[in-house]
């Protein structure tokens, strides 16, 4: 991209981060009272809310019901004001449908689905403000919401993106870096077993560099895992403290 | 708004030529020397023509004409609820309000637009309290309203017309709902406004410009619909509601008469 240096000679990115640095992550569990589980996450300027309902009876058509495992139902939508230019519809467009599908696949792999046959778990993700890495933030928020809802997971699900600029892999890329046209790798892993549950790459990247970028992205996922884990522990201890004092 | 692909529609972005005609004397004031343009008194309603039971296929129907406002309504049912999800032990009422494409100054689309959907809901809420829904459990009654020509207060005329059609269909009701409307213009109140007199937000600059529509069940003295538009003083709006109630009371015997006559001719 002309005139825009994604990585300066000193090794700084546009927003002042170094190549291996994540954006600031802030999160909170239990945002809503009515949902069975909910969470909010801010990754830099990307803000995502997730709510989980269930497990409950299968809603709508019975044909969707699975005999041996739970049906994971996702919906990804973006607030109409979340992007720079106003979106006309919050959901239903191609991109959101694709995102919904990706989320479903991701969580199908992470939830211990055989525990709840013939039931349904709803995961609703709402992007309030988008600044790159929407999918990653959505996955991280949904993980927290699932934990808040007490749904058994194989492990935390952590997602992180990475790009490749000037022969250097950069982690957790923002909207500006995404739109630069460089390669983008999105990885979702289960950090403990180091299994990859979702992997997507856009644009061209030389094979030799793939493992480098993948390593950086996985490292990002593990860093995110540490942050999420701390948030969950904080939340649980706070909740149990409140429970103790009221007793 | 998704367009109907099965019909050949005109270009999407056409405008009615009426918008561009600069007719200052209409815009400037709706009253001419303190009198209404069609020569009516302020509280005088337009002559009312009512005709129940004119659509033979429908269970019940009615036609109303107030000068150039012409509305036709057909009622079908009670009939089985089609969608399984809509099942309920109480009867259901549905309303579909539609301006005929040629009915207004600007051309209407074949499909319901947002305004028509809103009017459908308002009409439904006006009629629902009057209909004894528990008399036809697990079934529904469909009301279809078509405005053939709109010369003001389409909603009020539709309320009257629809309740007449419901009565004609033999649907049990607590009372007939009578619709009426008033235009508030500064200190004066114009009952039963025509299209020219109706409230449009872009022409008005002051407070106390607006309109009120009510639906009244006269014999049990209950208001089933009430909507207003425009910024109006509290006292003025209360007065307008009272005036509308009086108008409804005045029209009520006419409706009763029309129904009785239609029954007589049937037998």
């Amino acid at each position: 991209m002309a005139g825009l240096e994604l990585l300066s000679d000193q090794g700084f990115r546009i927003d002042g981060r170094r190549s291996h640095e994540l954006r600031k992550i802030q999160c909170r569990l239990g945002v809503f009272k009515q949902a069975d589980g909910s969470a909010y996450i801010e990754q830099g300027n990307t803000k995502v809310l997730a709510a989980v309902y269930g497990p409950h009876e299968v809603k709508g058509s019975r044909a969707k019901m699975l005999q041996d495992k739970v049906l994971v139902n996702c919906q990804y939508s973006m607030a109409t004001f979340s992007t720079g230019e106003r979106k006309r519809r919050p959901r239903g467009d191609r991109k959101s449908t694709e995102m919904t599908m990706h989320l479903k696949q991701t969580f199908d792999a992470a939830i211990i689905t055989n525990l709840y046959p013939r039931s349904q778990i709803d995961i609703y993700v709402e992007v309030l403000q988008s600044d790159g890495g929407n999918y990653c933030a959505s996955v991280n928020a949904a993980t927290l919401a699932l934990i808040d809802a007490g749904i058994p997971l194989k492990d935390y699900v952590c997602a992180c993106s990475a790009g490749f600029v000037n022969d250097t892999p950069i982690v957790d890329i923002s909207y500006l870096e995404e739109s630069g046209g460089g390669p983008e790798l999105i990885v979702t892993i289960l950090p403990k077993s180091e299994q990859i549950v979702f992997l997507e790459q856009n644009s061209r990247l030389h094979e030799d560099n793939l493992s480098k970028v993948l390593d950086v992205a996985s490292k990002g996922c593990k860093d995110i895992y540490a942050i999420l884990d701390r948030a969950v522990r904080d939340h649980v201890s706070k909740v149990s403290n409140v429970a103790n004092t009221t007793e | 708004m998704p367009l109907d692909s099965r019909r050949i529609c005109g270009p999407e972005s056409t405008q009615s030529p009426h918008i561009f005609t600069v007719n200052k004397d209409i815009k400037s004031d709706i009253l001419l020397n303190g009198e209404r343009k069609d020569g009516r008194k302020l509280d005088q309603i337009r002559p009312l023509f009512l005709r129940p039971g004119l659509i033979s296929q429908a269970k019940g129907s009615a036609y109303i004409e107030q000068n150039h406002t012409k509305v036709i309504c057909a009622v079908y049912g009670p009939r089985e609820v089609m969608r399984k999800e809509d099942f309920s032990m109480k009867g259901q009422l549905t309303c579909e309000f539609k301006f005929a494409t040629f009915s207004c100054k600007k051309k209407r689309q074949h499909q319901q637009d947002a305004e028509e959907k809103d009017l459908s809901v308002q009409l439904l809420e006006a009629l629902e309290p009057a209909v004894q829904l528990d008399k036809f459990p697990k079934a529904q009654v469909n009301v279809y309203i078509t405005v053939l020509q709109n010369d003001g207060i389409a909603l009020a005329a539709s309320i009257t017309c629809a309740s007449l059609a419901l009565a004609d269909a033999g649907i049990e009701m607590y009372d007939i709902v009578v619709g009426s409307s008033a235009r508030i213009h500064g200190d004066v109140m114009l009952v039963d406004p025509s299209e020219e007199e109706e409230y449009r937000s872009q022409d008005c600059k002051d407070v106390n410009e607006g309109k009120v529509v009510i639906g009244l069940m006269p014999s049990i003295n209950q208001i089933s619909a009430l909507t207003s538009k425009g910024e109006i003083d509290f006292e003025t709006i209360s007065q307008a509601i009272k005036t509308c109630i009086q108008t409804c009371q005045k029209v009520y015997p006419v409706l009763q008469n029309a129904l009785v006559n239609s029954v007589k001719t049937k037998t």
Binding site: Q26, R28, V31, F32, Q34, A35, S38, Y40, E42, K47, L49, A51, Y53, K59, Q75, S77, A79, T80, F81, S82, R86, P90, R91, D122, Y124, E126, L128, Q129, S130, D131 | Q15, A114, K117, E125, E128, P129, S201, Q202, C204, K205, D206, V207, M217, N221, Q222, I223, S224, A225, L226, T227, S228, K229, G230, E231, I232, D233, F234, I237, I241, I245
Partner: protein
Amino acid sequence: MADVNYSEAEKTFILHGIQDKFPCREDGRGCEDYRHMEIETGVVSNTSGSARLRLANTDILVGVKAELGVPSPEKPDSGCIEFFVDCSANATPEFEGRGGEELATEISTVLSRCYDNSGCLDLKSLCIIPKQQCWILYIDVLLLECGGNLFDAASIGVKAALYNTRIPNVTVNQEDDEMEIELSDDPYDVNRLDISSSPCIVTLSKIGHYHVVDASQKEEACCLARLMMGVTAKGTISALKKEGWGSLNPESIFDMMETGKKIGQVLNTSLLNVLEEEEKSGNKRKTVGFLK
């Protein structure tokens, strides 16, 4: 509406509570009390103005985006406002897909009716070149959790977001016959909207023989008919709408309107106070958003 099925006994309990006029409502409020409300503006940086409102369990996020467009031929010398309401599935699974659309259009029509008059918001100031260019304000309301009284909450959120809205200054340069619009780069060179006469909706729910404001979800389930009023700070009424499947006695309508007007004026002034208070704390204020 996000319906929850309550048993007859529970409904009767609520009904009796209100009828007995003893501390009255299930949560101990009086008939004319609002629940706890929290408001924060400027929560979404991608917008021209935004606000988040939490009224007990009702959670609403409003974003205002100002975009350049062509004025409608009916109003060539003023800008436009467009309301869009989205009921997020976060609120209840029933809103998934297109499930929330009905409620959403209902809210947006009431809102646009409230603002559909020249007094409530000065749309003329949004015009840049008559017949050619104007600001279009897209007011997007996102419903995140519903705990009753959505209409009031939405209108308060909209008013707060409009207060927070900053529209960049534009200068029009005329070159020969060409008009050229220049947008100011300075983030502080902005115009604000005057919302002093914008309305708030007050919904009065008729439960039994009495009416209450700010009905909770439970109370809404018991309510036969409600009256929505758009009330401005001056006490004028910008919109009126009866809703629900019951009907109302004319006398009780006048009673309800009286209450609504009184409450609406107080609501408007206290909202403005809160917004001004927040404004005073200026840049030092840290936006918390959903992190609290």
